[in-house]
């Protein structure tokens, strides 16, 4: 705090000419114009359009301003289904991915001999295209020829219709979703682990503990800020689940249109006769959900930090 104060005081003393005040703005201008045109303007537009009933984007005509689109969307059974699917997806993908990533990152951090192999393995999804990998997963999920069912058959489990049965399509999507966010999560957690001073592990061993107890009592708490960060980022990105559907289900929302997600719903409003108002209000509902959840997570984190204090 005091450091920042010192800096401010310093800038107060520096004499700034008018030109040098404008100069930074000039440097910022291209970037700011880009943001204004391509981000801020569309966002404001979406908010405005979400309140325009029967909006026609060609004529820019609308019947009246009101909550009609929101009422329409929130009472739409497909939207409710999309919302519930999305929640289930997020609630499965994020915690499972976090736990797996934690285990992998911890193993990597202990400098196993397999580190080289692991490194390739966890960088792979980062350098491959989502769609190409998605297609690969489609082959792996294949009921008769896929490698997943092959391994299951070794355990004497009958073939599973991952991509063809309604009840197995969500698990397939979740597995693919987890695989997608794992590399990012592992890398961040690994970075977090590497910034933990190893002397704490030594201290814990001298204090008499080992193995899993050190992991849960020392490693995880010291990593909590990083875990929180990956959880928030992963939650936000998982709420936007959409791209993942295409390679797995050939552009459909699941084998029987049973896997509507919120973003897929928004996308579908634009297909055929575009219903821009409805799409905009659905997008804002999603935004509200993500916003509230993120705030909640930050709140929990703060509580968590303080509770350590007894």
């Amino acid at each position: 705090m005091s450091k920042r104060g010192d800096l401010e005081r310093q800038t107060d003393y520096t004499q700034t000419s008018r030109l040098s005040k404008i100069e930074p703005l000039l440097y910022l201008a291209p970037f700011m114009i880009g943001i204004l045109v391509f981000t801020l303007y569309p966002v404001v537009n979406v908010v405005v359009i979400s309140f325009m009933e029967d909006y026609n984007y060609l004529t820019r005509a609308f019947s009246r301003l009101g909550l009609g689109n929101y009422i329409n969307v929130l009472s739409n059974k497909y939207f409710i289904q999309a919302l519930s699917n999305t929640f289930i997806y997020v609630l499965l993908v994020v915690p499972i991915a976090t736990v797996i990533a934690l285990a992998v990152a911890n193993t990597l951090n202990q400098k196993l001999k397999l580190a080289g192999l692991f490194q390739t393995a966890y960088f792979l999804p980062m350098v491959t295209s989502v769609t190409a990998v998605g297609l690969a997963w489609r082959f792996m999920f294949n009921e008769r020829l896929g490698i997943i069912n092959f391994f299951l058959s070794l355990l004497r489990i009958d073939p599973v219709g991952w991509l063809t049965k309604a009840e197995w399509s969500m698990p397939a999507l979740v597995i693919y979703g987890i695989w997608n966010i794992l590399p990012f999560t592992i890398i961040l957690l690994l970075a977090g682990l590497q910034s933990v001073n190893p002397m704490f592990y030594t201290a814990a061993r001298v204090d008499g503990s080992k193995g899993l107890r050190i992991f849960f009592r020392i490693t995880v708490p010291l990593l909590a800020p990083t875990i929180m960060l990956t959880t928030i980022v992963n939650t936000i990105s998982s709420f936007k689940v959409f791209n993942e559907l295409f390679p797995l289900f050939k552009g459909q929302a699941g084998p029987f249109y049973n896997l509507y997600t919120v973003v897929y719903f928004i996308y579908e409003q634009m297909a055929g006769k575009p219903r821009l108002g409805r799409a905009a209000s659905a997008a804002l509902v999603l935004f509200a959900v993500i916003f509230i959840l993120t705030m909640l997570q930050l709140l929990i984190q703060r509580r968590w930090n303080r509770s350590g204090r007894m």
Partner: protein
């Protein structure tokens, strides 16, 4: 608990950090492990804690051969140089951690935390986090955490080096007091000879991974085993004069001669005469030397004396009325004069 180190050696790749180290640390003593930076003190301490495996040799705690015991089994308390308090736990939780692992029941745990916190004077701080403590407070908490499980051996790795000069003196006394109260065998690592002299029952002097001498502070000071021991202890540093001792006189390389207090010693080979500053005395029958510099320190005066071409530092009594530029006659007292072989550094 008595600790025996038997031919303990530690190599990192080709480098030998601790070399054939054999010593016995007596039960209930505070032992200072003293030596210059990089001489292997931390390495030795970590081997005692079980953090580092030994390359060869044995470590015994009383009758137990603990050479291959992991740290969690050895029951030692360790205070790290930078304390290593768990940042996500309060002071109380930090102290409680070793007890939880021993599955001490909660009421007993709380009683022990209270007792130990009172002993190191941190009762008021139990609900604070480590980052809300001063260096001295952190150190007390670290000691409390190390002591609470009633270790067989307490190890401290330069625990005072992060503190300012005054706090260092204070904490030195505290450690001494707590060690006396608990009676736990303690190894205290330091590279500060004064710290080692003031705190310890016994000093283990190390250099380049090798044991130099293991004796009480006074013995080490008044009877150093080799030139390094004489050099390392004492302030100001001991005076060293190169030459040869023969027939009761020490002939300096510059030609001057000094009568030896113990005339029997004869070096034959090139030798070093080491003289403590307090071993000089004004004496009319002594040899002459010129006072080239004078500094007043308390009730004595520190003088730079020229003996032939060499300069030595000596304490002289103030009432002598000596002034800069005077020529005085001094002799050497028998206590504080040592002869060492120039080549091997061994005592003659």
């Amino acid at each position: 608990m008595q600790v025996d180190l038997v031919h303990v050696t530690k190599r990192f790749g080709g480098a030998t950090a601790v070399d054939d180290f054999t010593a016995t640390l007596a039960d209930g003593q505070l032992v200072a492990l003293l030596g210059p930076s990089g001489c292997g003190k931390s390495t030795l301490l970590n081997m005692l804690a079980g953090i580092l495996p030994v390359t060869s040799g044995r470590i015994r705690f009383d009758k137990d051969d603990v050479t291959h015991w992991p740290p969690e089994r050895r029951g030692v308390g360790l205070v790290f140089q930078n304390y290593a308090l768990y940042p996500h736990m309060t002071v109380a939780q930090n102290i409680s951690f070793p007890l939880e692992i021993k599955k001490t029941p909660k009421p007993e745990r709380e009683k022990k935390i209270g007792e130990i916190a009172a002993m190191v004077h941190v009762e008021e701080l139990l609900n604070r986090r480590p980052d809300e403590l001063s260096g001295g407070q952190q150190q007390r908490v670290a000691i409390a955490r190390a002591l609470v499980k009633q270790p067989r051996l307490l190890l401290l790795d330069e625990p005072l080096s992060n503190l300012d000069a005054r706090l260092r003196l204070e904490m030195r006394e505290e450690i001494r007091r707590v060690q006396r109260e608990t009676g736990v065998t303690t190894v205290f690592v330091t590279h500060d000879q004064e710290e080692a002299m003031s705190i310890s029952d016994q000093i283990v002097l190390m250099r380049d991974g090798k044991l130099q001498q293991c004796d009480p502070a006074q013995t080490l000071y008044h009877n150093p085993a080799n030139r390094f021991a004489a050099e390392f202890l004492g302030n100001p540093p001991i005076n060293q004069l190169h030459g040869k001792a023969s027939s009761g006189r020490f002939k300096l390389s510059c030609g001057a001669e000094i009568p030896l207090p113990n005339p029997a010693t004869d070096s034959g080979r090139p030798a070093i005469m080491a003289v403590r500053a307090e071993a000089f005395a004004i004496d009319d029958g002594g040899f002459p030397c010129k006072v080239s510099e004078l500094f007043e320190i308390g009730k004595e005066e520190m003088a730079s004396l020229k003996i032939g071409g060499e300069t030595v530092r000596a304490y002289l009594p103030l009432e002598g009325g000596i002034r800069k530029g005077d020529t005085v006659r001094v002799k050497l007292k028998p206590r504080g004069v040592f002869l060492f072989d120039e080549e091997t550094g061994e005592r003659i």
